[in-house]
């Protein structure tokens, strides 16, 4: 894997994509899939693939990719192997927004369907802005302040969320489902909604691999080597937070992808962020696709929220990574 990380990642992604299109309440074998994609397949299969499987697959892949690259960026920015995209409040902010939107009974018009994601997106970004503003001292935003403010605001938002859930008991189950990460449905509309933000955010991050390498030496050395540290960190933080907010607004809070995928890719291809960033796009997509497949089949016909799968699989995996990282030359 060390020798051809891109190739291996692409192959794994391809397999994951095929798996995701094939598996569900109706199993679609490979040749039927190929027929449908060519335009000559069985009508039922075509309907399933174009209306359900493919949009879901694409949304899951995009979400996983977003979480992967965002997690890598956060770990690079904070120089901390425990950093994940929810560190400074995106998740708790989005959760609060989602539950607020669910408590207000929108009629099922277009806005009804988009109400939850839209509100979640806005509150997620608002939360990050508040955290950033609190953490700022003059012209600089010290990392420690960001983390502390993030923890504080996240707790606050999370407790507000719990309070609201207790008060509107009919919506609790729906809220829980969303908070655990799932309910990934809705055809092609969500994809069209998130694509512009993802493209912008991912492009910005991919151009900042060298900057992230420099930042590993500390703000002082990075500045002395010619990086405008304050500006770059703000840029990377904004792009990563934007991507994360976009991802969670439709898919809910899916944990561990943003935490584990960077470590996996680091183990496989080293610490250079110019490689890590694109690889964590591919790795994140694959990881979430596979988790989503498991979520669909493990207790079929019932679907487990995918956030539960990632946590159940992610936690032991994370412990394994932790044990391995005691060796040097890894982080």
């Amino acid at each position: 894997m060390r020798r051809a990380p891109y190739l291996s990642s692409f192959i794994i992604l391809l397999l994951a994509l095929l798996l995701s299109i094939a598996i569900g309440s109706v199993f679609i074998p490979l040749d039927e899939m190929w027929n449908v994609l060519r335009g000559a397949g069985d009508e039922t299969f075509a309907s399933i693939i174009w209306k359900i499987r493919l949009p879901r697959t694409v949304l899951v892949a995009l979400t996983g990719a977003a979480l992967g690259i965002s997690g890598t960026s956060y770990q690079g920015l904070f120089r901390n192997p425990l950093a994940d995209p929810y560190l400074i409040g995106v998740a708790s902010g989005a959760g609060l927004g989602a539950v607020i939107a669910m408590s207000i009974q929108w009629p099922y018009s277009f806005w009804g369907l988009m109400a939850v994601p839209l509100t979640a997106f806005i509150t997620a970004l608002l939360t990050v802005s508040v955290v950033y503003a609190i953490a700022r001292i003059g012209h600089t935003v010290p990392t420690t302040n960001l983390i502390l403010a993030g923890v504080a605001i996240s707790s606050f938002a999370a407790s507000l969320t719990s309070f609201l859930m207790l008060r509107s008991t009919n919506e609790v189950r729906r809220a829980l489902g969303w908070l655990l990460g799932g309910s990934i449905q809705g055809g092609w509309t969500p994809i069209l909604a998130i694509l512009p933000f993802l493209i912008i955010g991912v492009t910005v991050l991919l151009f900042n691999g060298h900057a992230l390498n420099l930042l590993q030496f500390g703000d002082d050395q990075a500045q002395q080597l010619g990086l405008n540290v304050t500006r770059r960190r703000a840029l990377i933080l904004t792009a990563a937070s934007l991507i994360t907010a976009t991802a969670v607004s439709f898919s809910g809070i899916i944990g561990f992808i943003g935490l584990i995928v960077p470590h996996l890719m680091r183990l496989w291809s080293g610490a250079d962020y110019r490689r890590l960033l694109p690889l964590s796009l591919l790795g994140g997509a694959s990881a979430l696709l596979i988790s989503d497949v498991i979520a669909r089949v493990a207790l079929a016909p019932q679907e487990i929220p995918v956030g539960i799968v990632t946590a159940l699989a992610g936690a032991p995996f994370f412990l394994w990574v932790l044990r391995r990282s005691k060796n040097q030359g890894y982080w």
Binding site: F207, G209, H210, Q221, Q223, Q224, L225, G226, G329, W331
Partner: protein
């Protein structure tokens, strides 16, 4: 040539540097000495542009240094920090290549010319054989040499060094300092070096600047500055100063007081 005029530095309300005047000429090694807390590291940080300066001017070859962008500053001055907690997962070559940052395009792509410069810098510090090793695997002395190589790869007319020999044994100390003085004299670099060890300052510096409580107390040759009369009031300890038998420089020892 670096010219510092009327430099004053504050950390919040506390004044760290008072009205500092200093010149560092091309081709010379200027050692900055002084007691702990005098502000030596703060002066380095101010000159390298990472802390905002309250008052004063810093010009480099006539250009107003503080108004320049980070990239422009990085093409004029390279800093060799102390080798503490370097990222362990980068290779030596990758680390030295980062010294080429001020010359790379916005994608951060290093050309083969950049790689050649990095390798020749490694060769000058006698660390080329370490190119593919991980930074986490090499010794403290080797890490310090890598940081010097990175600064040399920046190809700047000036070097700032903050106690470059602190964690080095005597062999590596002398190797590093010999290298720095050779670079200064042969490549006409201006070198400003913070040192604690007065004898190293005596051995390797062309001039010495004495800083105390944020004020520049004296600037001159080692013979001018490193004498009992100048040093005792600053360091507050009795000193034995003898002439080195071969070189025309002072050797400085504190008085040994035997507690009865």
């Amino acid at each position: 040539m670096l010219k510092i005029q009327n430099l004053s530095l504050f950390y919040s309300q506390r004044q760290i540097l008072h009205d500092i005047d200093l010149e560092v000429r091309s081709g010379e090694v200027l050692a900055l000495i002084g007691p702990n807390g005098a502000g030596k590291s703060s002066l380095i940080r101010a000159v390298s542009g990472i802390v905002p300066v309250r008052a004063g001017r810093i010009t480099f070859n006539g250009h107003d240094f503080l108004r320049q962008s980070a990239t422009q500053r990085a093409r004029s001055i390279a800093v060799v920090p102390q080798a503490t907690s370097l990222p362990a997962a980068f290779t030596v070559l990758e680390t030295v290549l980062l010294g080429r940052t001020p010359y790379l395009n916005f994608l951060g792509q290093a050309s083969s010319a950049d790689e050649q410069i990095a390798r020749s810098s490694l060769e000058r510090v006698d660390a080329l054989h370490l190119s593919d090793r991980y930074v986490g695997e090499i010794s403290g002395g080797e890490q310090q040499r890598i940081l010097l190589a990175r600064a040399l790869a920046q190809q700047t007319p000036m070097l700032l060094l903050d106690e470059p020999t602190t964690h080095l044994d005597i062999q590596h100390q002398s190797a590093l300092l010999n290298l720095i003085t050779a670079q200064a004299h042969e490549c006409n670099l201006a070198v400003l070096m913070v040192v604690h060890d007065l004898n190293l300052a005596a051995l390797y510096a062309d001039r010495v600047a004495l800083l105390e409580h944020g004020r520049m107390r004296a600037v001159g040759t080692p013979a001018d500055i490193l004498n009992e009369k100048t040093l005792k009031p600053i360091y507050g300890v009795d000193l034995n100063i003898v002439q080195h038998p071969d070189y025309l420089i002072p050797l400085i020892f504190p008085e040994r007081r035997v507690v009865a």
